[in-house]
Chain length 236, copies 4
């Protein structure tokens, strides 16, 4: 049987990653949450609901199982916990999930516009547009809303034939960005990236309203510099 | 009979809330003011007129009655005091009022445009567009201007059938945002929120000039996650 | 006869005001300058040319006469010294002059667009649009350029029938903002204001491309709250 | 024969210049690199590949020869090393090269738009538009990509008849800015400048979509105030 202090390291790491959100200006007050999973233990750690980053403490982090039921912690987990749970169940290789209300990414999500790939900064991270899910049906909104938000992401990836290991970010239409990654640090990094890509795309369209999507060869080149068998970026 | 030091706690809290304004980048120099009310005592505390946040001290805070007459303090209260007084008289449940000249909210107020509800960040706070009052008549401008500013807010809410407990922010047309809340901290929070919503709406329209208002079901869902009898956001 | 240490106080004040420029994010590197005048002594103090704010020291400030000739100091005065000199000679009541390359004000100056008065933030400072001088003739550019820049400001104010005591800021077309005031602190304040007004006007036009100039009654009301015989803003 | 500690001063300077990149908000994480050349030794110092600015240490800097082969250092040099090498080989007078993904400059690069010269801030640095290279051919992308990026810059300058000593910045189309200068400090300065010029140009076009290029006389005047035989800006 698990005891409370088994989760100390997981909570501590989850806390540190959550504190990156205000440091990187990705959310005001309580408007974001980071979770990280321990797949062996079958649990993930997540920010408690409605607690401001100013007041968040390491011991406030909540441990839940893959159905989102609380395993450890005295606070209620994030109201988005079920969305995280769906992503962990369906995207088998991810180790962390981040949700924020960062300004430009929300601006595009509200516009129901995918972030078109216009340059190599984008291609360094994925060769696809950052997808934006369509408006949710009323039935689903009135159903199990946070579960449906996760399901909608997963189904949109399936429908668009996107690989969640290659495209590690999405705009939930009318709402805002969710990002993930092999671990929590990568998921937070991707939350910074999606905000920057949204801002760059805004400027690009202002500078040239007729701008075209980045050409295929350049998309592949930059992605493959950093990812896959022939990657040569970094020290790896 | 009230003595000066009766108001020390009220002044101290009002001072701290005023200092949030420059910390949150909501106003330059003297361009904002926060008040909080003590309904039992029938007075409210407010920033003095024309004193820069850099120089503001706790003891500078002025105590006025609900007609705006000074009850305690050696400085003149904010030139917007009468507007605050009208709001406290008509919106019976509010505990704090904030006025700023934050950049994006002023940008929209000057445009005489309500901030349309485009996403869930907005719906987390109100299911209505943030209203913008129409231009004031010349007679009212040349009359008791600051009182009329308050009256205009109250009348616009009545005319638009808005509930000030649900929609806790307004753009005064050609001028800027006023926000309020159950207490001063909530009013300051709402001043941050209205600035962010204005910025997000600007980006949303840039990304998609044909964007539509957020669908009804999603408006209700997000608002009711946080407010009302079935709220499940936060630790409450 | 004047001795070096006569100007120590003037240099110290000028230095402090210059340091407000980077603190308020109004200029990168060396892209700005503040001067203040001592009308009794017939001299003004100004930043030296091409010295970065990072390295500027109090003793680097240069003292020049109203023709711009160096009276005290071992460095060359700002290349814009002659423009300041013209303003001091023609605008008899001003005590300080500031020039920056702040981003939004330069954006509008490059657009050759006056900053239209759209709201009360603007009317709190002047009831006029912030004027923008037309492109300078080639003959003047190739003549005594910095003197002509000052002359152009003065002539534009005359032609537009503007009062430099009421409108304390201008955009020099294709170049950037100059501001002034009764003293150096007011001139620096106005440099912050013109940048903010330019940013707000940009947002206002984005939110409503058909926006109209602020109505006359509101312009007068806000200006007269703060200025003139019936002013009631502040503690004065 | 060179020994390791011969390069200590070069590494130390290169490290300090690299740290200016995050300080000046020109790049997130690892998205930039600065190099400086020692032409006598026939080597240049450059940031290692994929090392975050948060973790970069002086001793991580890599020394390479003008073909980009590592001469000293235990890490892999920046993936953009070959681009720097081409610039050093072809632009004989430059002492430093900088590449960033600063937001506005990338926005314009992605738009495949040169930054038109709209004002004197731009003319203080060059009398030309900041050029933007056209999309690279697929053959070159799939060839020696980083070398080709450098070649493309050099060929574009030749074709446009631009002097790299006068125009010290370029937008690589679909990618982002490269800047250079007589030394590393000037190259970093130019990286700040190109970002600011891109932002100013964005605002200028918003304020006046019909804006015209700066007139010839003003371009020459401002450039020659700062550069060439008759320069009179600064203390030189």
């Amino acid at each position: 049987m698990k005891r409370t202090n088994d989760f100390e390291a997981l909570k501590a790491e989850c806390y540190e990653l959550n504190m990156e959100i205000p440091r990187r200006n990705l959310a005001l007050y309580t408007w974001g949450n980071v979770s990280i999973i321990d797949r062996n233990a079958g649990v993930f750690a997540i920010k408690p609901s409605g607690v401001s980053y100013d007041e968040l403490k390491k011991e406030d982090i909540v441990i839940v199982d893959l159905q989102g039921a609380v395993v450890d912690g005295s606070l209620k987990p994030s109201s988005d916990t079920q969305t995280h749970a769906v992503l962990y169940r369906d995207f088998k290789d991810i180790g962390g999930v981040v949700h924020t209300h960062s300004t430009y990414a929300v601006g595009w999500a509200q516009a129901l516009e995918p972030i078109v790939i216009y340059g190599t900064t984008h291609a360094d991270h994925t060769i696809q547009d950052i997808p934006c899910t369509p408006p949710m049906s009323d039935a689903k909104i009135e159903g199990d809303y946070e579960v449906e938000t996760g399901v909608q992401i997963v189904e949109h990836f399936r429908k668009m034939n996107l690989d969640p290991n290659e495209t590690q970010m999405v705009l939930v239409g009318s709402h805002g960005p969710f990002t993930w990654g092999v671990d929590g640090a990568k998921a937070v990094y991707n939350a910074v990236v999606v905000e920057e890509l949204a801002k760059m795309a805004t400027i690009t369209r202002q500078a040239n309203p007729q701008v075209q999507r980045l050409k295929e060869a350049l998309r592949r080149k930059h992605y493959e510099r950093k990812h896959g068998p022939d990657a040569y970026y970094g020290q790896g």
